[in-house]
Symmetry: C2
Subunit: 240 residues, 2 copies
Amino acid sequence: MVSSVLEAAWTAADFQGRLQRVGRERYHDKHSFHLKMHRGELSRDQVRCWILNRFYYQKNIPIKDAIIVSRLADREDRRRWIHRIVEHDGAGGDEGGIEAWIKLGEAAGIGRSTILDESNILPGVRFAVDAYVNFCRLKTVHEAVAASLTELFAGDLIAQRIEVIERHYPWIKPEGLDYFRRRISEAPRDARSALEFVLSNASSRQDQEKAVAALNFKCDVLWSLLDAVESACGESSRCV
Amino acid sequence: MVSSVLEAAWTAADFQGRLQRVGRERYHDKHSFHLKMHRGELSRDQVRCWILNRFYYQKNIPIKDAIIVSRLADREDRRRWIHRIVEHDGAGGDEGGIEAWIKLGEAAGIGRSTILDESNILPGVRFAVDAYVNFCRLKTVHEAVAASLTELFAGDLIAQRIEVIERHYPWIKPEGLDYFRRRISEAPRDARSALEFVLSNASSRQDQEKAVAALNFKCDVLWSLLDAVESACGESSRCV
C-alpha cells in the first residue's frame, strides 16, 4: 500500500471497514495450528507448547501498555489506557491476567518454574513479541494503539476457545480457563476504546493507512508466533 | 566519583547514609529562590512564575513513571510502582495530582489556559525536565528509581510549604493547597518503597555509586528548574 498525502481521508465507515477486513483476512484464527487446535487435533505436548510460548506474549503485554501510557501526552488518554496494565499485573487481591495464564499452564500440567523460565521460549516467538514491543516503543503512539486492535477480533474467539478446551482437551483442569473468562468482557471493551482513539486521531489518509498497516503488522506478530510453535512442536516432537 | 568494580560494596547503612547526604548537600530546599520563597520574600509574579513552570515538571511525572513501569521486568515491582501514575493522572472520581496543581495555579490567579499552554514554559525548565524523563528512558531502571529518591527529602518540605503559603502568601486561595496535602502522605510512602528497591537491587559497589550519582543528577534537575525561574522572574520582571 502506497500512502499518499494528497489523497482524501477515508470516511469513518470506510476506514473501520478496512480495519475489520484485516481481521477477516489475516487474524491468526485462520492459522493451521489454530485450526487444528479448534478441531481438537493437537496432542497434549502441542497444546502445552502453545500455552508455554504464548506466555511470552502475555507477560510482555503490560510492558507494551506501559510504553503506550508513557507516550500518551493527554492525561485523559492515559486514564483510559492504564487499567490494561492493572488487569494484567493484578492489584490488591486480584492476581491479574499474567498469573491467570500461569495457572492455565499449571492446569495443563506445566510446572510454574518451567513457565517462568524464559530460556524455554522459542526464538521465533521471542523475535515476534519483541518486535511488537519495539513497534510500540518506536512507531507513533497512534500506530501502537492501532496495533492493539486485534482485540476487535478476539471476543468471539475467546468464547469459542473455552468450549474447545472443555470439549477436546478435558485433561486441562477447568480452573485453568479463568484467563479466557476474564478476557471475554475485557477484550471487546478495550477494543472499543482503542478503536475510538484510532478513529478520532487518524484523520488524514496517511494516518489511516498507517493504522491499517499497524494492524497488519500485529496480525503478522500473532501469526509468526503460531508458525514458530507449529514448526517446533510438530506431532512427533516433545518440546515442553 | 570514580566507580570501581574491584571495591567492596558499602554496607546498607553506609549506602543509605550516602544517599541521605546527597539530600543534605544538594536538595533544592537550599536554592536561593527557595529560601526567598520560604522567608516570604517573593512577589506575586515570582510565585506565579514558579507555579507555572513547576507544572511542566508535574505533568511529566506520570510519563516518566510509565517509562519506569515499562522497564520493570518483575510484575511485583510494577504493581508497587503503578499507583504513582494513577495518583498523578487521577482515576474515577479522584482528579489526581496534575489537576490539583492546575487548581493551585488557578488559586494563585493564573488562568487554566495559561497553565496548559506549554509555550509559557522557560527553556531551562524544559531542558531540565526533559533531561529527567530521558534519564529514566535511557539509563538503567535502577538508576531511574534511584533518581526518584529526592522524595526522601520532600516530606518535611511539603508540610512547611503549606504553612509558608498560608502565612506569607495568603492571597493564594486555600483550596489551592490540596496538591501539597496529598503529597504529605504520598511522598514518604513512595520514597520508602523506592529506597527498598534501590537497597535490594544495587548490590555491587558500582551499582551503589550509580544510584548516588542518579540522585545527584535528580537534585541538579530540581536545582536547574529553580535557576531558570529565578533568572527569568527577577524581582522587576513580570513573566506570567
